[in-house]
């Protein structure tokens, strides 16, 4: 993809959030790849998941080592081919990569929002993304694409703005979290909230970060992204020093791996963003306002859908994707569904499994511009 430059979009119109709070103005940081065609029919929005951001592919000039998180999918000649499509990546509201969020300065106080930043939910992200689409002159997306929480945003687009997208590609998604999903999120939140450096979310004012809590939160989350068999293959009971140490230091390789993942993550991610994003996951349930009837929630959708799940994903299992599929079928939508046999659990959606990418490539190639 080469070198890309992040851009900023500012909206001065107030945004009423689902929680009832109004955000007077906001900024979003985004990147684009490829060229918007004359009829503006080739734009694809890629929505990110919990820890993702606007930097989908390529590198930026000031950070040549930081390759975009979906670089294996997006670029010239790749399944989402930027020679054909104009691809947009955006850091969501409440994020910590430059869009308005807990790290931003609260104009009312002149200090960082921290914990005072309102809860932003999937519906709010999509509203903000629609403002960006207006700004870019994109009336209708050729497709809105996302994995996991990104897939939930793609579904929300289809329900909220049915005339503004032609295809939804929702990968490893779910129509709502299970009790178990919420439980894992709650443990992650408690890890952050109980960190002595959290200071009620105003840690920035104390010049500290609740990195221990964030580290634990990431470790817990990470377990749910992987499959048991893949962890077994990758680590098994391998020992870091070749023998039992009979101590609480790192002894099993899997411990070393999780600690490394947790530390790496806590060094750059914002704890308040993590908290609000897990709440966005928990509260997403479009069927809630329709007596639990998902097909009623999806009745407004007009797009065509590709739903993809992974056989070893136990976080958002294939059965959850099939709930979406059959709710769409009830609404007579055009739907394709692939259940990809990939060993890597929920995180499979980020990998370049050949069959998975072949399905995406074929679907994108058949999108008429």
């Amino acid at each position: 993809m080469g070198v890309v430059a992040p851009q900023r979009f500012g909206s001065d119109a107030p945004l009423r959030l689902k929680s009832g709070v109004t955000l007077p103005a906001f900024e979003l940081v985004y990147e684009t790849y490829g060229t918007l065609n004359a009829s503006r029919s080739n734009a694809v929005l890629v929505c990110h998941a919990l820890s993702g951001n606007h930097h989908l592919a390529g590198v930026t000039a000031d950070n040549p080592d930081e390759i975009g998180w979906w670089d294996n999918l997006i670029g010239p000649g790749k399944p989402l081919d930027t020679r054909r499509f104009f691809v947009v990546g955006v850091n969501n509201l409440g994020g910590c990569y430059g869009s308005t969020g807990p790290l931003s300065i609260n104009p009312e106080t002149g200090r960082r929002y921290g914990a005072d930043f309102p809860l932003v939910l999937v519906e709010d992200w999509v509203q903000a993304q629609a403002r960006l689409a207006d700004h870019l002159g994109i009336e209708t997306w050729a497709a809105v694409v996302g994995g996991s929480l990104g897939g939930m945003q793609a579904l929300e687009w289809a329900m909220r703005f049915p005339d503004r997208l032609r295809h939804v590609i929702a990968i490893a998604a779910t129509p709502k979290l299970t009790a178990q999903n919420i439980a894992f999120n709650e443990v992650a939140r408690q890890a952050i909230l109980s960190d002595t450096n959290f200071h009620g979310g105003h840690y920035a004012e104390y010049g500290v970060v609740p990195s221990n809590g964030l580290r634990l939160a990431r470790m817990i989350g990470h377990i749910t992204y992987l499959s048991d068999s893949q962890m077994g293959d990758k680590f098994g009971r391998q020992l870091s020093k070749g023998e039992y140490q009979f101590s609480y230091d790192v002894n099993f390789e899997v411990e070393s791996y999780l600690r490394h993942q947790g530390s790496k993550f806590s060094a750059f991610f914002d704890a308040n963003t993590y908290l609000t994003t897990t709440k966005a996951l928990d509260y997403f349930d479009p069927a809630y306002d329709h007596d639990g009837d998902l097909s009623a929630a999806l009745a407004s959708a007009r797009a065509d859908f590709l739903i993809v799940s992974f056989t070893t994903d136990w976080r958002f299992s294939p059965a959850r994707s099939r709930e979406i599929v059959f709710a769409l079928m009830k609404n007579r939508r055009r739907v394709s569904y692939a259940n990809v046999d990939c060993d890597a659990g929920h995180d499979s959606f980020l990998l370049a499994d050949p069959h998975y990418h072949a399905v995406l490539r074929a679907y994108f190639e058949n999108i008429r511009l």
């Binding site: 590709l306 599929v325 059959f326 739907v335 569904y337 692939a338 399905v359």
Partner: protein, 206 residues
């Protein structure tokens, strides 16, 4: 015409034409075990049907997506419980029923989710199959092109067996066509002279 000599594509076309003849234009059609989606593509191009394929093989699913055919990668052995009653005009199962275990359930489910069903299958009692068995061998023919040890088929049945099951399940046979292995329609003793059978089925009025 000798269907032995037809290419795979021409052979498919032969089957498709027979099925298409029972599908009115513009219908909603469910194709169970839809393979590469060629039938649904054909029906969409010739009859403007709104099609949905169901297929379990990943490579076939990919081929359907390439074909621009809507496909759901779902195991129909578990039933069609996600599909609503009468959400399709026709449900088709083309030369795939013999490869499934849940025969009764699939037939019943097809006529729950669709107004009519189209079923095609190879006839195990076809003349050459009988003579193969008479000589002490499992039959291998253009319509049963597998050796016994690598066949995907798990149900071995004949026209009369199938009709008896339909009767037992309250399924009405609305039309029936049988062809010998040269592709010629047979009406005289189809259970002996038919290699491939096509049925149009509906629910028997209560």
């Amino acid at each position: 015409m000798n269907i032995h000599k037809l290419s795979k594509r021409e052979r498919e076309r032969f089957d498709f034409d027979i099925i298409a003849h029972w599908i009115p234009a513009g219908e909603r059609v469910l194709d169970l075990g839809c393979g590469d989606g060629n039938l649904l593509r054909y029906l969409s191009e010739t009859k403007r049907v709104e099609g949905c394929g169901v297929e379990i093989n990943p490579q076939s699913v990919l081929q359907c997506v390439r074909n621009g055919v809507n496909v759901l990668q779902i195991d129909i052995e578990g039933g069609l419980s996600g599909f609503e009653d009468l959400s399709f005009d026709h449900a088709i199962i083309s030369q795939a029923l013999q490869a499934m275990h849940a025969t009764e359930r699939i037939l019943a489910e097809m006529l729950r989710v669709a107004g009519e069903a189209v079923v095609s299958f190879p006839n195990f009692a076809y003349r050459t199959n009988r003579s193969a068995v008479a000589k002490g061998h499992m039959p291998v023919s253009p319509d049963l092109p597998y050796e016994w040890y690598d066949t995907p088929n798990v149900r071995f049945f004949t026209l009369v067996d199938f009709e008896a099951l339909c009767d037992q399940l309250g399924i009405e046979i609305r039309e029936k066509l049988a062809f010998d292995e040269t592709g010629r329609r047979v009406t005289d003793d189809p259970n002996l002279n038919g290699s491939l059978a096509f049925y149009l089925l509906g629910r028997r009025p209560e």
